[in-house]
């Protein structure tokens, strides 16, 4: 789609972002010493810190990724919400307080309080770096998804802007500013998402029926009666046996005689073994052949074709025309080209060739055309009896359209949208294949265990003055985050039925939903989401910088650094990590940011959680046990993800590769493996001799009450 920036929206956006950064600079001026830079002097009030937890946590993954996943596939994205929140239970009930008693600045300091081991420091420092980078990627991808519809810039410009801004924030300010700024954004994000939800409920659902002569959306032809068997090979529609006649009209038009089917060919995709060809390619467009209870429907697909070397293109609706290399065809036309009557009201009065926005309710219960305002429960019961059109990318290449991205509409019952298993990622739970079910369990386990192991969440435990405050912070955080996650389901389903989504990007659904409701709200929400990304990214970069300065340089390499030197090294590290994040954010553009965060959780949970839990609750844990547990958890989960089907297919470009591991989510194997390693190696090595540090390291027996 093409995005035209609105002056007002841009102004509000820039004003908000400028205000946030001004606040960062102002507060950052107060944090000069290294203790202040990393942990805000331990003086952040608990309520502020709690909402800042929400500001950290409700990042691009939640607002953009989860909403987008729900908007495209329904309920499944909400499973991420549930898992992300459940992780706080582990963080609060199991890890929070003992850790607060142990810790200083970083996760490594906490684990190391008992052992004073350089080895531990090093491996934890490395795992913190890896998890931070994996968590940074989705934030950067999300930033690009926000900038595109707002300012009309390409994705990579958005990534570059957020990267540069964050580097400036982190280098000039530090933790004080990010906590206060995260508080501001955490509360605003929840507030404005609630406002958006109320608007969704107030608007209710409106039917946009399927139509054979729609001009503002893809067309649907049918229903047809299906009365001849189709041969199992590609062919020319004119000569072929395909003789689909209009339903209830034996003497009506066979589809080969429809004007849209002039010059059409029908095609199987590379994997198909069914009797009906799933696609028809015609000069009028690419059509998906769909059957439903004996009826056949032809639904128009949307296509995106990048012209690699000058030529006519495979999808062009003007077969004579020669396009330059680098041109992009959308639905068979040169993207962005003006056409027709410029006074026609279509996209700001400038009709230009672009993809159709999608997301429609095609039927409501009892034949209604609109529902009016709906209650929060009625919203679900109404949707459940309706029918919506979901869009997905054709999984396999279609013969004759190799290299073209084809987006296919799918009419889906509302009850199906509200149940688990529609997203291809989760579809395994509906199969009989045990390993696919295991994949789902594995992901949910990683989400459950991941939160407590994230470096940028842990660091906030140290910014309040005592355990009571840390506890209260976490409760406030859980409340704010839980409330927001309830809203994600409304926001996602609202986007699904908004008619405003971009088929090429799940991540843009929530901002586009806001845009369809009100340009003002859109500007505000985009600004909040953008600054939330800024805050999350700066928190992560600080965690990474802390790992390099404290863990790797000071404690492992024994480099003596003065206060100002360590702040300087931290800043240099921030610039390097920020630059790496920019590059990766551009490379991973196509992946859903929620799914990317799921991977960060898997690595964090596998590498950090086993050592952390065993250290806190098992006195026999040894230094060697911890080192090997972290290394084994980190290496196996990382390797598993890199060797899985989705990575090989989506990131490295081996199309349709099944992967070298039985399923894609490592957690269920690598987390227990981490625990076994810690326990096994601890038992094989001599027990730790309690030194004076143990008094504060382990919970003293005298504290038993």
């Amino acid at each position: 789609m093409i995005y035209e920036p609105s002056f007002m929206a841009v102004l509000i956006f820039l004003g908000f972002v400028g205000l946030t950064m001004g606040l960062s600079f102002y507060l950052g001026g107060k944090a000069k010493s290294s203790a202040g830079y990393f942990a805000a002097h331990g003086q952040i009030p608990w309520f502020i810190n709690g909402v800042a937890f929400a500001g950290d946590y409700l990042s691009a993954a939640s607002f953009l990724g989860i909403c987008g996943m729900i908007a495209f596939y329904g309920y499944d994205g909400f499973l991420y919400s549930i898992g992300f929140l459940a992780g706080w239970i582990v963080a609060l009930f199991v890890v929070a307080e003992p850790l607060k008693r142990l810790g200083k600045f970083t996760f490594a300091d906490a684990l190391n309080a008992k052992f004073q081991s350089r080895g531990i420091t090093l491996v934890i420092g490395i795992s913190t770096l890896i998890v931070s980078v994996f968590y940074l990627i989705p934030q950067m991808v999300g930033a690009g998804a926000l900038i595109t519809p707002l300012l009309g810039f390409p994705h990579w410009v958005g990534v570059l802007i957020v990267g540069a801004t964050v580097i400036v924030i982190v280098v000039t300010a530090g933790m004080v500013s990010t906590t206060w700024v995260q508080f501001l954004k955490g509360s605003l994000l929840v507030l404005f998402s609630a406002i958006l939800t109320i608007m969704i409920l107030n608007k209710g659902f409106t039917v946009t029926p399927e139509s054979a002569d729609a001009v503002d959306r893809p067309r649907t032809l049918g229903p047809f009666a299906f009365d001849k068997v189709v041969p199992k090979k590609d062919g020319d529609l004119g000569n072929a046996v395909v003789d689909l006649r209009k339903k209830d009209d034996d003497f009506g038009t066979a589809i080969k005689d429809l004007p849209e089917m002039v010059g059409a060919h029908w095609r199987f995709d590379s994997q198909d073994k069914v009797s009906i060809p799933p696609y028809i390619i015609a000069p009028s467009g690419v059509w998906s052949v769909q059957t439903d209870a004996g009826n056949v429907w032809l639904r128009e697909c949307q296509t995106v074709e990048d012209i690699e070397s000058a030529g006519n293109g495979k999808t062009s609706k003007d077969p004579e025309r020669v396009y330059e290399a680098g041109a992009q065809l959308v639905n068979g036309y040169l993207k962005g080209e003006e056409y027709g009557d410029p006074t026609a009201s279509y996209e700001n009065g400038r009709p230009r060739r672009q993809l159709f926005p999608v997301g429609q309710v095609s039927k409501l219960p009892e034949g209604k055309t609109e529902t009016g305002a709906l209650g929060p429960m009625e919203f679900f019961s109404t949707l459940s009896d309706s029918e919506v059109i979901l869009w997905g990318k054709a999984k396999h290449s279609i013969q004759g359209l190799e290299g073209v991205n084809v987006y296919v509409p799918k009419v889906t019952a509302g009850s199906q949208v509200l149940r688990p298993g529609e997203n291809p990622k989760f579809a395994g739970i509906r199969s009989t294949d045990f390993t696919k079910k295991l994949n789902f369990v594995s992901l949910m386990l990683a989400l459950f265990c991941g939160t407590a192991s994230l470096p940028h969440i842990l660091i906030r435990y140290y910014t309040v003055k005592d355990q009571a405050a840390a506890r209260k912070s976490t409760i406030v955080g859980i409340g704010a985050i839980g409330f927001f996650y309830v809203l994600t389901l409304y926001l996602g389903l609202g986007a699904m039925t908004s008619g405003a989504m971009d088929v090429t990007s799940t991540n843009m659904s929530a901002p586009l939903l806001a845009k369809s409701m009100s340009p003002l709200l859109f500007a505000i929400i985009s600004a909040i989401a953008f600054t939330t990304v800024l805050g999350t990214v700066s928190g992560l970069i600080l965690a990474a910088a802390g790992a390099v300065v404290h863990d790797i340089m000071k404690n492992y390499m024994h480099i003596q650094l003065t206060d100002s030197e360590s702040v300087r090294v931290a800043k240099i590290t921030s610039v390097v990590v920020g630059a790496a994040a920019i590059v990766l954010g551009i490379l991973f553009k196509e992946l859903n940011v929620g799914a990317l965060v799921g991977w960060a959780f898997s690595i964090a949970a596998s590498a950090n959680l086993p050592s952390l839990i065993m250290l806190l609750f098992w006195k026999r844990t040894t230094r060697e046990g911890i080192i090997s547990g972290v290394v084994v958890g980190m290496v196996t989960s990382l390797a598993w993800i890199l060797l899985s089907g989705p990575t090989l297919d989506g990131v490295f470009g081996f199309k349709g590769h099944a992967g070298y591991v039985p399923f894609s989510e490592p957690g269920i194997v690598t987390i227990p493996l981490g625990f076994l390693t810690v326990i096994g190696v601890s038992l094989m090595t001599p027990p730790h001799v309690e030194k004076e540090v143990a008094a504060e390291g382990e919970v003293p027996a005298t504290a038993e009450s």
């Binding site: 459940a86 199991v94 307080e97 679900f380 688990p420 739970i429 976490t474 409760i475 009450s705």
Partner: protein
Amino acid sequence: MTSSSRLGLLLFGVYTVIYAAFVLLNAFAPTIMESTPVGGMNLAVLSGFALIIIAFALSLVYGYLAVDAEEPAKKEGGDA
């Protein structure tokens, strides 16, 4: 181990059982999630909301009952 830690582990156990039941039902009996027990809302949506609400409720219980081992003078909410 402090009483707060014990309480934390107990509540953690309770939530883990609920969460595990939810995940396993979704994985091995997904059709159950399609039933609509209350007000036309299906079990998937209801149980999802319930998990979020229960998490918050348990954290409140914890905040109310937990006592600080290091600050015995502060007795707020320590009436368990």
